[in-house]
């Protein structure tokens, strides 16, 4: 019997033949933490260990409070910077961008095992990486020992075929899937994506889908590494990091879900759970006070390109704040070069530095009581954007741009 992507990667990295349900002790190719989980990780590491297994494959990202809004978080940043200086591990300082984006751009290699003290570590699954979020204790141990344990997950195969209609994007696909199977529909399992729609997807789109696999409870969201992956890594100057990886044809799946991409419509998650989905057109008239385009889900150059094309020559609604946060410094630079930033600012946008702050309610873009936001992020839990009295809707960058123009939830096909 053949192997799923999860079984293949974890067998390889544990040097054993493991199957779903087995425990694997696997080598970790990259272990990281960010500024809100890093201090606890470092405290746990220093309580018990003296040295890093591999300083060049250990990273601390300062991205959640970037730049820091208060003295406590600034002091946490000092702790992380000092640890990096002391140990020689990599540091991605304020302004570089969101950990998951930088891991994709510069660090993730197909076939790797990556663990991060951040639940959206699954993002790198878009590049054929077994990547998953863990807590500070697990990451501290992996930093010290270079390995961790996994229960090899059962896999669900998601086969997507057909072409998206105009105005429908990868984000709509993953929101639709989560609505279909629920916020715990893939708990402890790996979602493995296949089909002609997936084969045609750019890496940016694959990262969007992989990023949100955790919102269905999944341990990983995995894509084969193919020619598209090779082209992406080559463009990043990392052609040597490429290796093809795909599941065996006779791999065993606990379930297969078939989705016809051509039937999908722009989809929106309503407060306060991601699986509470509706079609954008069904929510027409819902007043939106703030639109956020960015985050590790949809803050890439392709996302900004869609938003820019829709907002060009238009103005955001006078009673709707339009906030844009490119996911990394590289993306911000590309957006400046392409003229997107000029167009977006002319359309009324507020540009934030690359980072996570607005998405998790840490700073910049905190909602007021009873305010509603349409965000391109991955989570709409109560209190997520800094106020339990706020309401968060999730959608694609196109739905976000359309909504910014009208001030109410809008199907992007009305504006495109």
């Amino acid at each position: 019997m053949g192997k799923t992507l999860a079984e293949k990667i974890l067998s390889n990295k544990s040097q054993t033949d493991v199957r779903a349900g087995d425990i694997a002790i696997a080598w970790v190719d990259l272990a990281f933490a960010q500024d809100t989980t890093g201090p606890l990780t470092i405290n746990e590491f220093e309580s018990s260990f003296n040295s890093l297994a591999d300083k060049d494959r250990t990273v601390l990202f300062l991205d959640h409070a970037a730049p820091s809004p208060n003295c406590q978080l600034s002091t946490d940043h000092i702790l992380l910077r000092n640890f990096a200086k002391k140990t020689g591990c990599l540091l991605s300082d304020v302004g570089e961008g969101i950990c998951h984006q930088i891991v994709a751009e510069s660090m993730a290699r197909p076939g790797d095992v990556i663990i991060g003290a951040d639940s959206h570590t699954v993002t790198a699954g878009g590049l054929g990486v077994f990547a998953t979020g863990m807590g500070s204790s697990d990451v501290a141990v992996a930093m010290a020992m270079g390995k961790t344990w996994f229960r090899v997950p059962e896999s669900v195969k998601v086969i997507v075929s057909g072409n998206f209609q105009k105005g429908v994007f990868a984000k709509d696909l993953i929101l639709h899937l989560i609505g279909l199977i629920g916020a715990d529909g893939a708990t402890y399992q790996s979602l493995e994506f296949a089909g002609d729609t997936i084969d045609r997807m750019s890496i940016s789109e694959r990262l969007t889908v992989a990023n949100m696999s955790v919102e269905a409870g999944a341990k990983a969201g995995l894509f084969a590494a193919d020619e598209t992956t090779r082209d992406y890594l080559t463009k990043q100057g990392r052609s040597g990091d490429y290796q093809p990886i795909s599941p065996d044809a006779d791999a065993e799946y606990v379930k297969t879900i078939i989705i016809d991409a051509s039937t999908l419509e722009p989809t929106v998650s309503q407060p306060h759970t991601v699986d509470n989905t509706a079609l954008a057109r069904e929510l027409k008239g819902v007043r939106i006070h703030q639109v956020l385009i960015g985050t590790c889900t949809n803050g890439r150059i392709e996302d900004l390109a869609v938003a820019t094309s829709m907002l060009k020559g238009k103005k955001s609604h006078p009673e709707t704040r339009l906030i844009i946060a490119p996911a990394s410094r590289n993306i911000l630079l590309q957006a400046i070069k392409a003229g997107y930033i000029q167009t977006l600012v002319e359309a009324g946008a507020i540009i934030l530095p690359p980072g996570c702050g607005a998405c998790l309610g840490l700073h910049q873009g905190v909602l007021g009581d009873s305010e509603a936001c349409l965000s391109t992020a991955n989570r709409n839990f109560k209190g997520r954007m800094g106020n339990p009295k706020g309401f968060i809707y999730l959608g694609s960058p196109a739905a976000a741009a359309a909504t910014a123009i009208t001030g109410e939830i809008t199907d992007p096909r009305e504006v495109l």
Binding site: Q72, L79, G116, G133, S137, G217, G361, R379, F381, G383
Partner: protein, 164 residues
């Protein structure tokens, strides 16, 4: 035998309900952060919970972030175990890594405010107030070994490695 009062919560209690991102500045001041435990689900919980009590959730308890602070502040509140119909993966692993038991069982049989008794050996939970008895799913052996040592760091300190 663990004995205490049940504090019931609904389905999908997220890590943002337990320790929201807006309190990220308190994460290096754990005693202060712990005063806000589960604040966005029940603002009165932190002042009512006593050592030995239980957090009783519905399905998909602890979904969301990987922040280990979520089970950590629940543990700091003195909670002896979390009971839920189902648990999100990262939260489950984090709680066990901190030595905090998470027991998967039919929590519909337990009422808010009831006194309950957990027999970790027998795998049963007795609701003394309403008379219901439920059994919980055994914790997988590998995690059980970590829990037995009081968490992952003490486990690694003791064995020096993962023991299959």
């Amino acid at each position: 035998m663990l004995k205490g009062k049940a504090f019931k919560f609904g389905d999908n209690i997220s890590t943002d309900h337990i320790v929201p991102g807006r309190l990220a500045h308190l994460r290096s001041n754990l005693p202060e952060l712990a005063k806000h435990v589960l604040e966005d689900a029940d603002p009165t919980f932190a002042t009512r919970v006593k050592a030995g009590d239980f957090v009783v959730g519905g399905s998909n308890f602890g979904l969301g972030s990987s922040r280990e602070h979520a089970p950590l502040v629940i543990k700091m509140a003195g909670v002896s175990a979390i009971l839920a119909k189902s648990v999100a993966r990262i939260f489950f692993r984090n709680a066990i890594n901190l030595g905090l038991p998470v027991l998967v069982c039919d929590t519909d049989k337990i009422d808010d405010g009831d006194t309950i008794e957990v027999d970790m050996e027998a795998g049963t939970i007795q609701d003394i107030t309403n008379g219901n008895k439920v059994s919980f799913k055994p914790i997988p052996p590998f995690m059980s070994a970590i829990l037995a040592e009081g968490g992952l760091i003490p486990y690694i300190k003791k064995y020096g490695d993962f023991k299959l």
